[in-house]
Amino acid sequence: MTQKLVIIGNGMAPGRMLEELLEKAPGLYDVTIFNAEPRVNYDRIMLSPVLSGEKDYADIIIHDEGWYAYHGITLHKGARVTRIDRAAKTVTAANGVTAAYDKLVIATGSAPVILPVPGADLPGVVAYRDLDDVLRMLEIAKQGGRAVVIGGGLLGLEAAYGLRRRGMAVSVVHLMPTIMERQLDPAAAYLLEKALTERDISILTQANTKAILGQGKAEGVALADGRVLPADLVVMAVGIRPSARLAKEAGLTVNRGVVVDDGMRTSDPAIFALGECAEHRGQCYGLVAPLYESAKVLADRLSGGQGEYQGSVTSTKLKVTGVNLFSAGDFADGPGREEVVLRDAAAGVYKRLVLNENRIIGAVMYGDVADGPWYFDMLKRGLDVSHLRDTLIFGQAVQGALAGGCGVQAPGAAVAALADDAEICGCNGISKGRIVAAITAKGLTTLAEVRAHTKASASCGSCTGLVEQVMALTLGEAYRPAAVEAVCGCTDLGHDDVRRLIRAKGLKSIPEVMQELEWKTSCGCAKCRPALNYYLVCEYPDDYADDYQSRFVNERLHANIQKDGTYSVVPRMWGGVTSAHELRAIADVVDKFAIPMVKVTGGQRIDLLGIVKEDLPAVWADLGKAGFVSGQAYAKGLRTVKTCVGSQWCRFGTQDSTGLGIRLEKFMWGSWTPAKVKLAVSGCPRNCAESTCKDIGIICVESGYEIHFAGAAGLEIKGTEILGTVKTEDEALEHVVALTQMYREQARYLERIYKWAKRIGTETIRAQIMDDAEKRQGYFERFVFSQAFAQVDPWSERVSGKDKHEFKPMAVIAEAAE
């Protein structure tokens, strides 16, 4: 019988443990997870880039909903376990859910330490631990103002940097004489302090917080020396404490954390502890690398192995853009210890190695950290470095050069010189040899594949460069480093990066984007400009001035250019329904302007072809008088909603498909999208409107509306995927609109819905649109907001004189020469 494995906590450590377990022994356990946070497993190391705006939450998700579903794992979100009954072998959550276990893993993580000072409970005082904390900080940062960060450690400094990036005036209050004193010696701390001060972050050391001041909310921080710092936001980042209460209440052995043996087992043989809540050989860890190492051991144990965790040596990097810092091991002075120091003040470089009996036991580097992994590798392996001693501090490149007798190193030589068991990815403990083996065995060629198969550079990402060098070495000519396809020749950035950076840096015009993102051309090209224009229209519907000169001719002239330079005009016929009055008006226009061809389109519209540019405004004026607006048949936007006659006429119709089609079209017309969007609504599964090959389609059934998406019937033929079924027409509208907005915000320019869905996964889309009402509502509201600015009929605007110059020659020369 399948055993029951229950996991309390859904952080990175149990996430990794499950990955290892599912690989080693799939199907061995029936897995249930209780997560106190109302979300899936995300990369907590990356909260700092989310705070600073360099990444989105969506970028840092490790396991999306689909992953849990695929592996048949039950995930209770927002369910805090309050009791473990060891006798009955059950756990119970605050929401009443109880689960029985054969094996239990406690992975409750840690809680931020909140200083017990007056005012610590005021609104506006925030810890820095999870996504909710980040969201709370961002909410306050929106108004600008001042932030005081208490704690000048790794987290505190990253928080300070993030909040500064978000526009707040930031001070860091630190109790000790130098910042990050656990990882840095005073010299490196000084350089770091200087770099942060240059980034407009004020640092107060030897500052003891006495109280948080404020009436009803935090307004300031009072220091013991009498100084008062005004603050709209106070971030407490003074440390973490293992969350071991649940284990203690269950009667397990607990010191600072839940005590485990080398097999990660607690004092109860059926119960294990993992992650920041665990205490192993007297050590509690707060960095990801040791947690991943112990996760691997636990996965081995759970699948019947005898793996042993031996404890870890850790290294640190600070995620502040432009600050390079590396520290590992023990760097305090001491008897019998030697140190080697290199300083280059002008370049802002400081390196210090601490040696004991000819072995590296500590390394601190600032400014130039390229050799960090090399030193760390020797440190962990306890290598005798006496033969390198004289030139050790100059780094690996110099060693190689001396050995080879050549002054210049080929790029990648340092990585080539690394031993197979040298660690490349510190977070995940991945050695060079493992990466090389995976590349060779599985034929990997892209960074994304290497990440997927080995996890190297998949956590904090700071070793990405090293991983790429390993790939280059292994693959040789076959390695194409530009795994991300650039938008065009004007930039090396891909579409996703450009969109993300527009958001993160708040870039508001095409010249600003090109300046800030270092475009290589002065004003872009015909590929990037329309893309940028769309991204800005989508991001700032209210205050971006649409750049018409960056739009393709069809979207500038609001008609479709034909091969002979004439245009075709398609008036909107809502849901494909027309009338005698409308048809008569069209007939009159055709006669008056001698329009050579009238054609019915696949989207149930009438196309008037062969109109010269100069006639367009007059054609539209006449069509407008009959009530027509632009059919936007030319737009990367909502095109048509095709319908069948539905329950109004059809003997098989189950719902009013025509009515819903018209309603959708009236709601969504005018919206710009990454590529064209075509909809259809069929009144029954006979599917006469051909909903199952549309970008979004609806099939009405007796019980409601089946929503389809990601179909294609052009260059590629692809049937739709089912998004889900809803009961009412209102719900159908909300889901379709939300899906469209999600696509608008995430897809790359010119990427149709089916391609976007394939790229990000239909499960991800389903989870956000069908299962997450809050997300759905958010998308819906943003679409509605954007429509307030988008729903202006471009034809009537031009009939009233907008962009006259587009339709008239600037001069007419009657005679070539007199």
Binding site: C525, K613, H805, V812, A816
Partner: protein, 130 residues
């Protein structure tokens, strides 16, 4: 400078040619990174204004399939044809990259914003001194 037509005599080597400059309007009639047309008995001429306010004139026909260059996207001193995305150099009319062909280019003079076109002047040399 008034917007009248006038004649220059230019001499190269031993031959002198009369060049007739025809007033076609003001630079501000053309959007930056855009173009306007001038219609003539010999066909449409596209007059381009770039981001740096340089002005160029080309026959409004892409050398590829005759697409109207005047409605293409203007970037740097190039225009992309709306029909099949050929990039055409504005100074020379030459197709860029792997494509081959040339749209006829003609000189434009910008006299304090007033623009004059020399319709019958020989095409500008392909190698423009930028």
């Amino acid at each position: 400078m008034t917007d009248t037509t006038w004649t220059d005599t230019t001499c190269a080597d031993m031959t002198c040619t009369d060049v007739i400059w025809i007033a076609i309007g003001h630079i501000d009639d053309i959007p930056r990174r855009g173009a306007r047309c001038v219609t003539t008995p010999k066909g449409r001429i596209a007059v381009f204004r770039t981001a740096d306010d340089a002005v160029f004139a080309l026959e409004d026909r892409c050398p590829h399939k005759g697409g109207p260059l005047s409605v293409g996207i203007v970037h740097g001193h190039f225009v992309t044809c709306p029909l099949h995305n050929w990039n055409i150099g504005l100074d020379s009319g030459l197709a860029q990259g792997a494509d081959e062909g040339q749209a006829r280019a003609m000189p434009v003079r910008n006299e304090g914003g007033a623009l004059f076109l020399a319709l019958d002047a020989p095409p500008q040399p392909a190698v423009a001194a930028e």
